[in-house]
Symmetry: C2
Subunit: 203 residues, 2 copies
């Protein structure tokens, strides 16, 4: 394959965002992460701060969908006006991701971009994971919190990302079959991970 786009799904604390940024810098291509949230918010007219709060939560969204008859998101059958906020946010982000991918080579971190771009043949899908101990230590150091607090944060984020992915796709988040490459960042470190991605991208 000759990829143009790199998508990175990453476990919380695995350094996936940093790795993606580094790979994009080496390759000299665009990098999207929080930027997508802002772009999506802009497109949909939603308040950026609110979008950030909502975008990885799926609390009772399925029930809400059923109650409002909103149908199945991500499969093209929905009635936009009946949708709860987070589903409108997802749709806005989906459109932004498709636009970004059409604009040229880039790295996109998170947002189930691998699923959103699944029809394209030029996308390299990466999953970055690491042992829990590594990720907890990483988060504790990054946010200067205790190991106990970091452990709770990691658990919560993993759960919400997996739930988000399951809700909007027909895939399991941590299933290696959904990615061309799954890398243990705890074993290699962020720089080597970025180098592996760059080397695979270049072919």
């Amino acid at each position: 394959m000759t990829p143009q786009i790199i998508t990175i799904a990453r476990e919380y604390g695995s350094g996936g965002r940093l790795i993606g940024r580094r790979a994009a810098a080496i390759l000299g291509i665009d990098f999207y992460d929080a930027e997508i949230i802002r772009l999506a918010a802009k497109e949909s007219g939603l308040d950026a701060e609110f979008v950030e709060e909502e975008e990885e939560s799926t609390t009772s969204s399925l029930l809400y969908n059923l109650a409002t008859g909103a149908g199945v998101i991500g499969h093209g059958i929905y009635s936009a006006q009946n949708l709860p906020l987070q589903d409108r946010v997802y749709i806005a982000q989906q459109q932004v991701i498709q636009k970004i991918a059409n604009d040229g080579p880039c790295v996109i971190v998170g947002r189930a971009a691998n699923y959103i771009l699944r029809e394209r043949q030029d996308v390299l899908n990466i999953f970055i994971h690491a042992r829990k101990k590594y990720r907890v230590e990483e988060i504790a150091a990054r946010h200067r919190i205790s190991v106990e607090e970091a452990e709770k944060a990691v658990q919560k984020k993993d759960r919400s990302r997996a739930a988000h992915h399951r809700h909007y796709t027909d895939q399991e988040w941590a299933d290696p079959h959904n990615y061309h490459l799954a890398i243990d960042s705890g074993a290699f470190g962020p720089d080597d991970c970025a180098d592996i991605i760059v080397s695979v991208y270049r072919g």
Copy 2:
């Protein structure tokens, strides 16, 4: 990490064995696959042909273990004389794999080698997978059988390998967390997969 040993777990038809052999050739290190079966059989005094038949089947082994009071295999609590044949084969292979790993750098394909060598710090664990369609076509071409027959064979092998792994380890076979690198061979092709492994091994 500075790996000495490469283990490769692979889905049937993903070309994992070929990829491992190629990586070993490029690196100039030993390659073990069917060879392990023969070595294991030799060590345990079992007939080689019989070992080949038994080694990936776990039919009613758990029940047999419970009935004979053989206890938990792979966790060090067992009574060798009461063990069913396939568990004795597993133990023999486990010993062979540990011996091989002690002897120096090598590639070991299959046999849950990642789990058997989990206490070592110098092992690079790889999982090779591919979309089912790719693997079915591969097996149909390799064995000159129909697509329908190949599909059945792939399903059966996947099931038996997953069951074997689950039986002898506390891991799920296709869980990316059990590997440092999981690669989609259908996307890259066997040669590029071998190159990725070689490049990661060399660091």
